[in-house]
């Protein structure tokens, strides 16, 4: 890792250079009362004040809807064509948070265990992530309890930390990050003395450990806790769609007469239709079983199977939930429970 200091006021000049040089730059942009990642054309569009966006950054590599291939029927024959990889632009994800960057590791684990998903891989490989360490947090944040932190650099190519009113620490983790620094190298001063990064970071207390949660939930399949916790769950897909690690998807057909395309689009295990058979039989018939699936998949099945947890503690699901299904609160109650 290489460390530099940059004058905070020069960041915009650097971003401007990045926008000029990279085909696509995604950054948090104010959108009504919320903030979302959008493609930006100038540094002024960026909302530097936002803590997190409503929807996570996963769309940068796993968009809500994308083409898998196109088909053309011609008489009895069918021709299939794939999108050229040139269609996936080199992308810089600007002003993401540590919890966004961390989310790509579980995503990659899902898309690359066993069969390799080359569409995801290509998008992910073309993605450079610039995170800004958090100096604020809210009551939904719990990254420190699941192994992350406001200044965690896992998954980031570059992390920026505002040290004071004038100076910003730049930590460059990867070659991709180096390339961005090289776009305007003069503004980066080598770090002359150690700085106390921790001091400026948000303080987020550790409430539990993910290993603890895993141990509890792995043996709690038949626990009444699921029904109790999920009672007020409405069964919408908000939590899954805003989550940085939820990767469940649907494959759909966009048909226009004799041509069309096969698509992949986001889906959510909270929807009752997710597992329902054509016959009407549903292996997960109630919201309690679907809520259990969500928690167990993230905290038991994924670590067991893929060696990675499906939660970065970003708190987006809790913020998005219409009925205040606060994940942190539920996890604390699970961590404190004794296998009911």
């Amino acid at each position: 890792m290489e460390k530099y200091i940059i004058k905070t006021e020069q960041i915009d000049a650097w971003l401007k250079r990045i926008i000029e040089s990279v085909p696509r730059v995604l950054a948090p942009v104010s959108s009504g009362t919320k903030t979302e990642f959008r493609r930006i054309k100038s540094p002024e569009e960026v909302n530097n004040k936002s803590l997190t966006t409503t929807v996570s950054a996963k769309a940068a590599a796993f968009p809500p809807v994308e083409t898998l291939f196109k088909y053309q029927k011609d008489g009895k024959d069918t021709t299939l064509t794939e999108d050229s990889f040139d269609k996936y632009p080199e992308t810089v994800l600007w002003h993401a948070r540590s919890c966004d960057a961390m989310g790509f590791s579980p995503l990659s684990a899902i898309f690359d265990w066993d069969y390799k998903d080359n569409i995801y891989d290509e998008r992910r490989n073309k993605l450079t992530i610039v995170t800004f360490a958090c100096n604020q947090s809210d009551e939904c944040c719990f990254c420190t309890s699941v192994g992350g932190g406001p200044g965690n650099v896992e998954g980031s190519d570059i992390q920026l930390t505002m040290l004071n009113a004038t100076d910003t620490l730049v930590e460059v983790m990867t070659e991709k990050g180096q390339k961005l620094v090289a776009l305007l190298p003069d503004i980066f001063q080598p770090l002359s003395e150690e700085v106390d990064k921790e001091a400026v970071l948000a303080k987020i207390p550790v409430q539990f450990t993910k290993e603890e949660i895993k141990e509890h939930v792995s043996n709690a399949f038949d626990s009444p806790v699921w029904k109790r916790q999920s009672a007020r769950c409405l069964g919408c897909g908000a939590c899954a769609f805003v989550c940085p690690t939820c990767a469940c998807f649907d494959i759909q057909e966009d048909a226009h007469g004799n041509h069309g395309r096969r698509l992949r689009c986001w889906d959510a295990c909270g929807f009752s239709l997710f597992t329902q058979h054509t016959s009407g039989y549903n292996p997960r018939p109630t919201q309690a079983t679907r809520w259990r699936q969500r928690i167990l998949h993230k905290f038991s099945y994924m670590p067991e199977r893929l060696g990675v947890y499906g939660c970065t503690g970003c708190g987006r699901c809790s913020r998005a939930c219409p009925v205040d299904m606060n994940l942190q609160e539920h996890l604390i109650s699970i961590a404190n429970s004794n296998h009911e």
């Binding site: 995604l26 990642f37 959008r38 493609r39 968009p63 809500p64 809807v65 083409t67 632009p89």
Partner: protein, 154 residues
């Protein structure tokens, strides 16, 4: 694709009921009344059976204008289908208008089985009007969402 509006041939989809307007359109033909060929007729048992989604699908599928036509009030073959339809269109047209969808492109009418000439007039009028409005490009554009530069949505 789009030339000047004068050369533009609008594509009109007509949703009509079997008992009045379809018979009326038939009469137009048998009476040898000439009218614009831009219209594609979809026949329904009754106007009450025309789902509003079909109108949206017609626009999404490339229609520039739509005609919805059935029996005059009190003439419905099924007594009240057209009354139900009328309510539906009152509500539907209102919401479309609020959303900024061009309701001028949807022509609602009553055409009885005896009104062959009226049918020809309605089609000709509609074609003329839609020709002036031009192709419904803005709707087609959102309908072809995925054809647009994919990443502009993100």
């Amino acid at each position: 694709m789009e030339e000047s509006n004068n050369n533009f041939e609008p594509r009109i989809i007509a949703f009509v009921c079997n008992w009045c307007t379809y018979a009326g359109a038939d009469l137009t033909g048998t009476s040898r009344i000439k009218y614009a060929t831009n219209v594609e007729i979809v026949r329904f048992p009754c106007t009450g059976r025309i789902d509003f989604m079909l109108l949206l699908k017609a626009f999404a599928g490339g229609a520039d204008g739509i005609i919805v036509s059935g029996c005059h009030p009190n003439d419905c073959h099924y007594t009240s289908g057209n009354f139900h339809a009328r309510r539906r269109w009152i509500v539907f047209r209102n919401i479309l208008n609020f959303l900024g969808i061009d309701v001028q492109r949807i022509r609602f009418s009553w055409v009885s089985a005896a009104e062959g000439a009226k049918w020809a007039d309605i089609v000709n009028d509609t074609v003329k009007e839609i020709r002036e409005l031009g192709p419904y490009t803005e709707y087609k554009k959102v309908a072809n969402y995925l054809d647009e530069e994919a990443d502009s949505h993100e």
